[in-house]
């Protein structure tokens, strides 16, 4: 699992990403840092608007045309990603770091067969000729559990079921043996039984391909199942980061704690869910202090005024909160009160 002696594969430091919109500049990501080690699965957890997807996309500079990396450093192996030329970057994209997305129907090009789309990558990165690439593509499809790959390869995305599409997408992402797979909510659009299939598949493939995974999700169940380590994001910032057991057993940020207690669970009978009050503010209107202060059970004036730093509160456990003690003291009361 976590091996601190090893050199990180990917290192992101103090990442700031901004977007230009009609209403003004949105600071979508504010000083996010993390490291990804070989073979591990890092989950980035957060609700919509937390900046989790943008953070992941930034690692291969895949932002929409109105967004840019304002500040920060991204180191992949020995490459400074931000100073790479477009050509050099393209050699990393798809080959070293590849991605799968939430909605496989829209992420696959509807007018090309899935074979075309896999072969394209193989030809590009591995210099294969058509026949070789096709053979390899069929192998890949078989590997991701698509039955009758010889036939399926010539089908268009709309001819496949949702699960099969996501498998095809995974085959495409894995075609060049990447070191890192960025999976952006890969199972959100799927049914639970299919989700289970895909999650199993990803675990198996991770072992086989020896790759690291950045798993972006809002589903804590999936996080618990898949990740070795997690960072929790809110308002474009990391609010808490730790290994997975720590995060779930000893959450040290009110948001992480609130989130965990607000989901209905099948393994427990709770009368009532904890609900975090309010809504995620418009990205232009976050409080100036702690971003979570206007929804936090434990916030006081200090929180509103001043944003706490992400502190390492114990080894490899980081949290961004002024009032961890107070939270620990009062969280039971809060739960009681909610009830």
């Amino acid at each position: 699992m976590l091996n601190n002696n090893e050199k990180p594969l990917l290192k992101v430091e103090n990442l700031h990403v901004h977007f230009k919109t009609e209403d003004g500049i949105i600071k979508a990501v504010n000083g996010v840092s993390f490291e990804l080690y070989p073979g591990e699965t890092l989950a980035i957890v957060g609700e919509s608007g937390s900046g989790k997807t943008v953070t992941a996309l930034s690692t291969i500079r895949l932002l929409d045309e109105n967004g840019w990396i304002e500040e920060g450093k991204i180191q992949y192996k020995d490459n400074d990603v931000l100073s790479l030329s477009d050509n050099q970057l393209r050699k990393i994209r798809g080959k070293e770091i590849s991605m799968i997305f939430q909605e496989p129907m829209t992420a696959l090009n509807p007018v090309f067969t899935i074979g075309d789309q896999i072969i394209e990558s193989l030809e590009l990165h591995l210099d294969m000729n058509k026949q070789e690439a096709r053979r390899k593509a069929i192998d890949l499809l078989r590997k991701v559990g698509i039955p009758e790959p010889e036939r399926r390869i010539d089908q268009y995305p709309h001819e496949l079921s949702g699960g099969m599409r996501q498998r095809a997408m995974i085959a495409m992402a894995l075609s060049c043996n990447p070191s890192i797979l960025i999976a952006d909510e890969p199972t959100t659009a799927l049914d639970v039984t299919i989700q289970a299939q895909i999650l199993e598949l990803m675990k198996d493939l991770q072992k086989e391909f020896q790759m690291s995974i950045i798993f972006i999700t809002h589903d804590l169940g999936v996080v618990a199942e898949m990740a070795d380590r997690a960072i929790v994001m809110y308002g474009g910032e990391v609010v808490e980061a730790a290994d997975i057991i720590t995060i779930f057993k000893k959450p040290r940020h009110p948001y992480t704690w609130g989130l965990m207690n607000s989901i209905p669970r099948i393994d427990k009978d709770e009368e009532r869910l904890l609900s975090i009050p309010g809504v995620v503010p418009n990205p232009l209107n976050f409080p100036k202090g702690c971003k979570f202060s206007n929804r936090c059970f434990f916030a006081d004036e200090k929180c509103v005024e001043e944003n706490p730093n992400l502190e390492e509160i114990e080894e490899n456990h980081f949290s961004r909160c002024w009032h961890i003690d107070r939270m620990l003291r009062e969280m039971h009361k809060v739960k009681e009160g909610e009830r």
Partner: protein, 393 residues
Amino acid sequence: MMPENEKVILEVEHLKKYFPVRAGVFKRVVAQVQAVDDISFKVHEGETLGLVGESGCGKSTTGMTILRLYEPTFGRIILEEEDTTPWFMTTTEAKRYIKIMYADRFEKMKQEFGSLDEVIKNLNKEIDKKYAEIYFEQGETGIRQDMMKDLTEKRRYFRKNAQVIFQDPYSSLNPRLRIIEIIGEGMKVNKMGTNQEIRDRVAHLMEIVGLSKDYIYRYPHQFSGGQRQRIGIARALAVNPKLIISDEAVSALDVSIQSQIINLLVDLKNEYGLTFVFIAHDLAVVKHISDKIAVMYLGKIAELTLKKELFDNPLHPYTVSLMSAIPIPDPEVKKKRVVLEGDVPSPLNPPSGCRFHPRCPVAKEICSKEEPSLNEISDNHYVSCFFPGEFKI
């Protein structure tokens, strides 16, 4: 919690909804999508029935058909002791329905039992008894007259008493109407008070669902997704319906907002004794809110029982697999998981026999040949499986 003598609000009998598939040069019907295929259930007053299942299992179609946003292909939908089925049919369809559902049946029973009293005695539903009496006195026309008179009034009665909360809070609210109009519309149509009274009630409802009453003159686009869902709930509550059908009402919301809405629904239910049909794909959510759960698979009910019973003692292999597939947000629980093979088959061409058999870990020969019926295995626990309880983790 659910004594048998309690009042039944909604009863669905043998409901089917098929969608024709047309193809070819003349657009002939070449197949039927059996979206809902012969399901029956009851919902008692103050009770919440959860309908759960994966996409394509027919749970939403069931809801829409009960609401008569789709016309049922077959079956009877009884709302509070009234057969509402023919209310939305064309005259010819209604005639046909009344003949099959009542006249033919009574006629057959009459031959079987001989005397009219015997027939009535052998009928166990109030509504059947009522129409049997009418039938033997006034014939088929009598039933028809009783059912088809004041249709406009009946339709309005139905629309008022069966309310819906939709999944997508963005598209289900008319963007051109103000909140007061959205929530108050139903009250106005049903003449539930003066304008002032309606306004006051709208303000009150807004507070109930957790919105400031200052927002009464705003438009839907000025609200966030969660707030819009609250508006949708207030709208449904406004006319004091007997039944609320909630179709994936929390699925599109963020986790923290989802919990707020779930809590709101639970509170409302407890406080006002609302009767819900709660449709969702997320078993955890359904579990949280329902008293009784029906697990659906490919247009059929696989298992139907009380919530606790379902989770303590799941009997259908599909229920078991579904539960095991749900990831538990606890890294220390390394549970054993059954990963079902393959995809959900298309309802256009469902498997023979038990519809679950191609994916079932314990399927035997009979499963592919015969279709199991929904049997009451133990008290109030209905399972549609030849080998209930055989599959366990």
